[in-house]
């Protein structure tokens, strides 16, 4: 069998994207289509006293203006996307899902108050300005550390406090471990909010065909099937009456997994009401308020070690900012809890999580999803411990890695899938050694660093490790069909947002069926093609959908061989699949093309044998026992201008181990993009809210997504520890690039400025913030 998996194969989807012919949601155009715009709140927290839409309704070209009142009984909150974990004792969770339109109280700036539908987006925006709304502002809950104060205003007044959830997880006995430790280090660590910043904003087009009673929805979602199911339920339709298409999506990064956004209910709803197609395209300013965000957490963290740097235990109490509602449950902070132990053998662990409501846009996972915070906490604690104990930062990590023989390794807590967290496999030391070699760690520490320092330059090195729990269930499925043309069609339920699924999935099939990758046509994200599944998130596409495709390819291969054996009158063992043909080994003339075989499998006359199915087609599903844990090490060398605090990354090295690599070109691309986002998280991207909950940088001019000038060349190395949990041996990699970057930045910055003895305990930073930290340090002296 020719090896296709693992090859650098050019992407099938590229010609369409490169010529501008790929269909994105905003490219959908339907005759008679109307355009929607929303009136959004200027205030973060306010009572809605009254709303006057009369002028808007009268504006020529306006077709409908809808408020919560106008929706009557059809106004319903939610539905929640993820329910709280039932398995942990004493868990508190107050479910307060999002609402379609503000009814009585605004809970975050930019929350939608009214929907306008008009003949053009221009007119719709004119009409939004015509609406008179009387909002009575009240104090806002912004700072998560003040949110639980008894005097804090309440985001949800039916609750006693702004506590959304409380959950304690523990392993072993941290207090006892602490008591016998040689060193205990305690720090407060703060991480602030950022945006996903996909280049394509969200958008929805809904088209109701009254004659066929069928609704078609194009949606920029990472999860078309659950969206289809939710829309059907909300609109009282059967699932077969609704088709959701997630066409080409201009980047997801998590927030397009959130469901259901208010717009995802309202646009289909109004399209059915009006009997006309309706399009809503989120603009960039709206995106900063209406699309979910992530990262704010405050940790009081502690690590207990022996004097030779062995970790005895880690403990942290932390606050997580949920924003105004909590439909996504505890996914993010559970990920944090799962990652505060990093890649290390931590025998004792205590984690007390409090989730709080604030008057800010809601929080759902963004690339990394709670893991960057967790890794930042553990890697910072280790760095500080290393400094205190006089151990090299690389050495302290080596000493604490989980031993390769210890896998599968039980963490004894539950993870985001509400299942026990088990690290399936791993071999961490070689990965770290490779990264250290690639960046020249020893040489830098011994020679280069001191030499540069002597020259008066401020160049620092950093090296951190991380794990990433990936590829969570429940399941995905795929259907593979050999067509009479000899081409292969693959349909799966996940959506795709640039991950190269059209190619990597095709590679899996091509290898099994002996066809060219370009002859495998993959369809993703269209519920009319395949309608079982969940979505592309949590670095699970290649793991879960990939293995479903693999299973289904094996089933089709079996059918091909069985039929070909009969046709060619040769035993199955002697058959080869190559170049779109089934051949009898060593007899070149005895062959049949897959296309011909497909025709024979679907005869027009005669009878199909009992017990067999027509066609060369199979559907299979894959659900992993539990998630696969990827591992990686990032290292960087950076230079700081101590006068301006501007930073230049000189070198950046990534060594990852995400199991079997399907397509290294695509994998490296994922890593590059992840690192770029991590650099944003570390040094550029911060959503700044004032004390009234006003977002002060709701534009791409002030929210600083890194450009080609800030992102360095990234050198990528690979190790492959196959996951035993799936036949392909894959682990996810989508988020790996992003996770450790803030921790790495902090370490390298401290290393570059040794005289200042800085301790970086917050992210994101900026030159201005670094300057302030140095000033504070000098003031303390």
């Amino acid at each position: 069998m020719p090896k296709i998996i693992g090859e650098r194969i050019k992407r099938n989807e590229d010609p369409r994207l490169l010529t501008g012919e790929a269909l994105f949601v905003d490219d959908v155009s339907i005759p008679g289509m109307l355009h929607a715009a929303f009136l959004r709140s200027d205030y973060a927290h306010a009572y809605l006293r009254s709303i006057d839409t009369s002028a808007a309704r009268e504006r020529p070209g306006v077709v409908a203006v809808i408020t919560a009142q106008d929706m009557g009984d059809e106004w319903q909150p939610g539905p929640p996307l993820v329910s709280p974990p039932p398995t942990v004792k004493g868990v508190v969770f107050h479910s307060r899902p999002q609402v379609p339109l503000v009814k009585d109280k605004v809970r975050h700036a930019g929350e939608a108050i009214a929907l306008v539908v008009a003949e053009s987006r221009y007119i719709a925006e004119d009409a939004v300005e015509d609406i008179l709304v009387d909002l009575d502002p009240i104090d806002a809950v912004v700072d998560i550390e003040k949110a639980l104060h008894p005097d804090a205003p309440l985001v949800h007044e039916d609750l006693e406090s702004n506590l959304a959830a409380h959950l304690i997880q523990q392993r072993g006995d941290y207090a006892a471990a602490r008591a016998r430790a040689d060193v205990v280090i305690k720090r407060k660590i703060v991480i602030d909010r950022g945006a996903a910043g996909a280049m394509e904003n969200r958008g929805i087009v809904a088209d109701w065909d009254a004659k066929s009673q069928h609704l078609t929805v194009w949606d920029t979602t990472q999860a078309p099937i659950p969206i289809r199911n939710g829309i059907a339920t909300r609109l009282g339709l059967s699932e077969s009456q609704v088709r959701v298409i997630a066409p080409f999506i201009g980047g997801g990064f998590g927030p397009k997994m959130m469901m259901h956004y208010p717009e995802e209910i309202l646009i289909p709803w109004i399209a059915v009401k009006l009997g006309r197609p309706v399009k809503w395209i989120e603009d960039r300013h709206e995106n900063f308020f209406a699309t979910t965000q992530e990262r704010t957490q405050v940790h009081e963290a502690e690590i207990a070690l022996t004097k030779d740097g062995r970790v005895l235990g880690v403990s942290h109490n932390f606050l997580h900012d949920s924003g105004a509602y909590d439909p996504y449950g505890l996914t993010i902070p559970l990920n944090t809890q799962s990652h505060v132990m990093g890649a290390y053998d931590v025998p004792n662990y205590y984690s007390d999580l409090k989730v709080v409501f604030t008057n800010k846009t809601l929080t759902t996972p963004i690339r990394g999803a709670g893991r960057p915070q967790g890794i930042f906490v553990i890697e910072r604690l280790l760095d500080i411990a290393a400094k205190e104990l006089g151990i090299d930062p690389v050495e302290i990590r080596m000493r604490n890695f989980i031993h390769p023989d210890a896998f599968p390794y039980q963490r004894e807590i539950i993870d985001q899938a509400f299942a026990p967290l088990i690290l399936d496999s791993g071999n961490y030391k070689p990965v770290l050694e490779k990264a250290a070699t690639m960046i020249g760690y020893d040489r830098f520490v011994k020679e280069e660093g001191p030499r540069l320092r002597a020259e008066g330059r401020h160049v620092g090195i950093g090296l951190v490790s991380f794990i990433e729990t990936t590829g969570v269930g429940p399941y995905e499925g795929a259907r593979i069909t050999v067509e009479a043309s000899g081409k292969i069609r693959v349909a799966t339920g996940v959506g795709t947002q640039g991950q190269g699924h059209f190619t990597s999935f095709a590679q899996i099939v091509a290898e099994q069926l002996g066809v060219g990758v370009e002859d495998v046509h993959v369809s993703t994200g269209d519920t009319s093609e395949f309608h079982w599944g969940t979505g592309t998130f949590a670095s699970r596409g290649a793991v879960v959908a990939g293995n479903a495709i693999h299973a289904s390819a094996l089933a089709v291969r079996y059918k091909i061989l069985k039929l070909a054996s009969k046709v060619l009158e040769a035993p199955e063992e002697e058959l080869e699949l190559e170049d779109g043909q089934v051949r009898v080994a060593d007899i070149p003339n005895m062959s049949i093309s897959l296309g011909e075989l497909a025709l024979l499998a679907n005869p027009l006359r005669g009878a199909v044998e009992p017990g067999t199915e027509p066609g060369l087609e199979a559907t299979a599903y894959f659900g992993p026992q539990y998630g696969a844990a990827a591992f990686g090490v990032h290292a960087m060398i950076l230079e700081v201008d101590p006068e301006t605090m501007m930073v230049e990354i000189k070198r950046y090295v990534v060594v990852e181990d995400c199991g079997t690599i399907l397509n290294p070109m695509i994998l490296e691309g994922q890593i590059h993009g992840g690192v770029a986002m991590g650099i944003g998280n570390a040094f550029y991207e911060r959503l700044v809210f004032d004390e009234n909950g006003q977002l002060l940088n709701a534009s791409l001019a002030d929210y600083l997504i890194p450009t080609a000038s800030e992102v360095p060349r990234i050198e990528v190395g690979h190790e492959e520890t196959r996951s035993p949990l799936n036949p392909l041996g894959t682990k996810g990699a989508g988020e790996a690039g992003t996770i450790p970057v803030p921790a790495l930045f902090a370490q390298a910055l401290e290393n570059a400025l040794p005289d200042l003895n800085l301790e970086i305990l917050e992210m994101p930073l900026s030159p201005n913030r670094l300057f302030e930290l140095v000033q504070e340090k000098e003031r303390d002296k």
């Binding site: 300005e129 940088n697 002030d702």
Partner: protein
């Protein structure tokens, strides 16, 4: 993010444009490159009811040598044009060096010299640079035609001497003195962002290689272009030693400015940047003054 409605005029002569400005006054906004105005219109923060598009007036597009050896630019000369014109490189090298630092290539294709000046953003490079180069601006209306020196033109943030019926039509720069040096240094988060601080410098040495004249212009530290007069005075008559330069830089940071804070830079950080960049820019400029033919 779609602009509110407006009436649109596309005059083809300056006279026609002036007559429209006279007619509509404050209701109208002249549309030059539109690279600052249109984003504001898209955000609906600016909602002019009349737009007078200057892009079809050929007389506003030119770069030519002035009689006294300086340079004249039509107000609609696009940044990309200025960036590539050998006359600019030769006659006003500071502007030549400034151009690639303005926004992005796409913005420079469309943005205009006069548009940037009229908009008077305190973070705009050309605003400050035109002051320290002693540029002057020709303002025309149906009623008159006047030249205003750059140092008097800018009143405050987005505020200039332009009356509602006036149009900036032309920009003039005098020739550089012999033994001149120049530099523009900026700190911005990403290359195309507004500078957190920028320092533009023109210095001029006398025959004894002492500082004969120094102009130090600062970006993003006030409500308009800010000249560091005290720092400049401290240099006059001095040999441009690193100590003299350092002293001037410290004066600039301590005495010449009253910067504001925003989410990207506190006032204190801005002072620090002014100090560092002034020192670096002066060093570079003095070095050029002693080695270059100007």
């Amino acid at each position: 993010m779609k602009p509110a409605p407006f009436d649109y005029y596309a005059p083809t002569t300056i006279e026609e444009a002036l007559s429209l400005l006279a007619r509509y006054g404050y209701d109208a906004k002249a549309l030059a490159g539109g690279q600052s105005l249109i984003p504001m219109m898209n955000f609906r923060l600016a909602q002019p009811s009349v737009l007078i598009d200057l892009n079809n007036i050929p007389d506003l597009f030119f770069i030519r040598v002035a009689q006294e050896g300086g340079l004249r630019l039509g107000a609609m000369t696009r940044h990309a044009q200025v960036e590539r014109d050998p006359l600019i490189a030769e006659r006003v090298p500071l502007i030549f060096e400034t151009m690639p630092k303005i926004a992005t290539p796409q913005i420079r294709s469309r943005g205009t010299f006069g548009g940037s000046i009229s908009h008077a953003d305190p973070s705009a490079e050309l605003v400050t640079v035109s002051v320290i180069l002693d540029g002057s601006f020709r303002l025309r209306s149906q009623a008159g035609d006047r030249w205003v020196p750059a140092r008097e033109f800018f009143i405050g943030m987005f505020t200039t001497q332009l009356e509602p019926d006036e149009l900036l039509t032309e920009i003039a720069f005098p020739p550089l003195q012999p033994r001149s040096g120049w530099a523009l240094l900026e700190i911005s988060r990403r290359p195309h962002d507004f500078a957190l601080v920028g320092v533009a410098v023109v210095v001029n040495l006398d025959e004894d290689h002492r500082c004969h004249n120094a102009r130090i212009g600062l970006l993003s530290v006030g409500d308009g272009p800010v000249e560091a007069h005290r720092a400049a005075e401290a240099l006059i008559g001095q040999a441009p030693t690193s100590a003299a330069i350092q002293a001037a830089a410290e004066i600039a940071a301590a005495e010449d400015i009253d910067p504001s804070s925003d989410i990207h830079a506190s006032a204190g950080y801005r002072r620090q940047l002014v100090k560092v960049l002034t020192r670096r820019a002066l060093s570079l400029a003095f070095e050029r003054a002693s080695t270059k033919p100007y």
